[in-house]
Amino acid sequence: MKYVDEYRDAARARSLASAIGAEVVPGSAYAFMEFCGGHTHAISRYGIEDLLPPAIRMIHGPGCPVCVLPVGRIDAAIALARNPRVTLCTYADLMRVPASKGDSLQKAKAAGADIRMVYSTLDVLAIAAAEPSREVVFFAIGFETTTPPTAIAVQRAAAEGLANFSVFCNHVLTPAAMRAILATEGEEGVRLDGFVGPAHVSTIIGTEPYRQVAAEYRKPVVIAGFEPLDVMQSILLLVRQVNEGRAEVENQYIRAVRPNGNERAQAAIAEVFALRDRFEWRGLGWVPHSALRLRPEHARFDAEVRFGLETPSASDNPACECGAILRGVKRPAECKLFGTACTPESPMGSCMVSSEGACAAHWTYGRFRMPARLAS
């Protein structure tokens, strides 16, 4: 397969691993955060950490939009879905996320709520057009990667005069989250030497938005593709930057990321969405200018306006360490609930539900680290 097999080549992995090992300064320790859940998944699925020298520690970041969604927002979506006139459409990952009182979209669906899994916002428009008597609501989540499809859907709905379509908007912004993490660093925050930057978010926003973050906090950002060789090459570039005292934005994912990003997508986002003053992130608390809502001129497509939605602040199980894990302060195994009360079958927090959450990735792929001698 093109652009897939070449980027998973074991021989190249070995030579990159040697190169990284050779450039690591003896006696130094490096801590890099892979921001994006897709990178967490790649690192776990391919066992990349087995190929890195012990001096490098990878910290799992909050780039999993399912993981950072506060419980209150899921509660609101479930309440909306329970309205007999509403058809709630959602991406698959949200189905099992635990809300308050052990509820979830999947449980609400089993109890009769009209909740439908979709793969694309175009599916939602099709449902709305086909079922004009239903109030069709799209539960929109995601970083900048998934924001353009929502924007296009709203634009099309406006053009077609769809009267029964709306969006419950929970789109969040990457640079703001990076700042929030770096701002807490040093209190109980963990020392971070740089970021493996998000792949597909960057195809949308380009490389510019990271420059301010890199300059202000003096941390290198290397935008990395999702294949395991991309991740390893990016780690090599980060090690070099740290060694040379640089704090630049580098683009490793040149086959997909342009410096200006995707300008058409950016224009659609700007036309449909406005910045919220602040938004509550699971694990990061209230973060200013970190999320989007629909512009007032699109209020009829805004489910929060249309249904007068209230999103109470709901708290997690007190023993749940999702917050600390999302900030890179704790590892999954350091949470008392990990593997006992909290498993993929009975997730306590979002980190365990989404396959890209740090806890789910660790459970699924790395729960029992293999002895080095078994790796070829």
Partner: protein, 332 residues
């Protein structure tokens, strides 16, 4: 299909005669009794039961009927047994087009004849519209185990090898290609097939070297190997580079963010065997059309945690866990 077809009267009698007896055509059904009578060979018998609720009813490479025949035969065959007889019980939804039922019955009849395993007894019930998803089929099967052969999921021992009969993921991807909202063009056909011929070849060649066999259906290879690891109290170590996946299946899984290890198969088997017997078993498998791509994919190891682990194609290590529930496509 209406409720009178299940009511036990003339309509039902006609349905059974015109449709089922016509398609399955064997001496047992022809007698028209509620049961089939046959002499029992001495020795060790196996019996299984299975339910089929697949949606859609018709998919690339098969349908619920052929799937029911293959799946039941395979459960028997995984014990190393020769399948003898099947039963099939139908729960039909009011409103099901009779043409669909005829198509399913014809497919089952064909699968049964091709496998040489007759459907000797059956039952038909009709329920109201909305109470069944078109057709549900429940089956039972019996078979006889060759003398001296005992296969079981709890017999895997450290040092044994793990053999796989062919590429994984075909059936699950074929099904998904039909599902609403996940449509894409793909040339993937379900691998649904009766495996008793392949099993017979393996048993004849090196049966004493076999420990356990299982077909990796729902939950895929990951679930099956985790089951065996738990049952036997061992660990399993796989080599990803050795596990065959067709390019189209791999591409579809890439697109959807699915792991082929978790995708259902309906015409493949996994065999745990004594290391010494592996070359002979592989030769026997590769000599059979359904085992042409048979390969060794790993080994059984000591492991107090009973994990299934894998050396990835990339060179690192990972756990191969079985899924909590349905595998869901990833969003980004």
């Amino acid at each position: 299909m209406d409720l009178s077809h299940g009511a036990g009267g003339r309509a039902m009698a006609h349905l059974i005669a015109d449709l089922f007896q016509a398609e399955f055509g064997n001496e047992y059904l022809a007698q028209g009794n509620d049961q089939a009578a046959f002499d029992v060979a001495g020795g060790r018998m196996v019996m299984t039961t299975d339910g089929f609720v697949v949606s859609p009813l018709f998919f690339p490479g098969g349908d619920i009927g052929s799937l029911a025949v293959h799946g039941t035969i395979n459960d028997i065959a995984m014990a190393g047994a020769r399948p003898l007889y099947l039963t099939a019980s139908y729960i039909l939804e009011e409103g099901l087009p009779l043409a669909d039922l005829k198509r399913i019955a014809a497919s089952m009849g064909r699968a049964s004849r091709d496998a040489g395993v007759p459907v000797v007894a059956g039952d038909t019930k009709v329920v109201e519209r909305g109470k069944a998803d078109g057709v549900f089929i429940a089956t039972a099967g019996i078979g006889v185990v060759p003398a001296g052969l005992r296969l079981s999921g709890d017999l895997a021992r450290p040092g044994d090898v793990v053999l796989l009969s062919g590429p994984i993921g075909d059936h699950g991807v074929a099904i998904m290609s039909c599902r609403e909202h996940l449509s894409f063009d793909t040339a993937v056909l379900s691998d649904s097939a009766a495996l008793h011929g392949l099993v017979a070849a393996m048993v004849a060649r090196a049966g004493s070297g076999l420990r356990a066999m299982r077909d990796p259906t729902r939950g895929g290879l990951a679930a099956t190997l985790n089951e065996i690891a738990q049952q036997s109290g061992v660990g399993i170590l796989l080599r990803e580079a050795a596990i065959p996946v067709r390019p189209q299946v791999a591409a579809a899984c890439e697109l959807l963010g699915l792991d082929p290890l978790n995708v259902a198969n309906e015409g493949r088997l996994v065999a745990i065997a004594d290391r010494q017997a592996a070359p002979a078993l592989l030769e026997a498998m590769r000599g059979h059309p359904l085992g042409a791509d048979a390969v060794e994919i790993g080994e059984v190891v000591e492991d107090a945690d009973h994990f299934v682990q894998m050396i990835t194609g990339f060179g690192g290590g990972r756990i191969v866990d079985w899924l909590a529930g349905e595998q869901l496509p990833r969003i980004c």
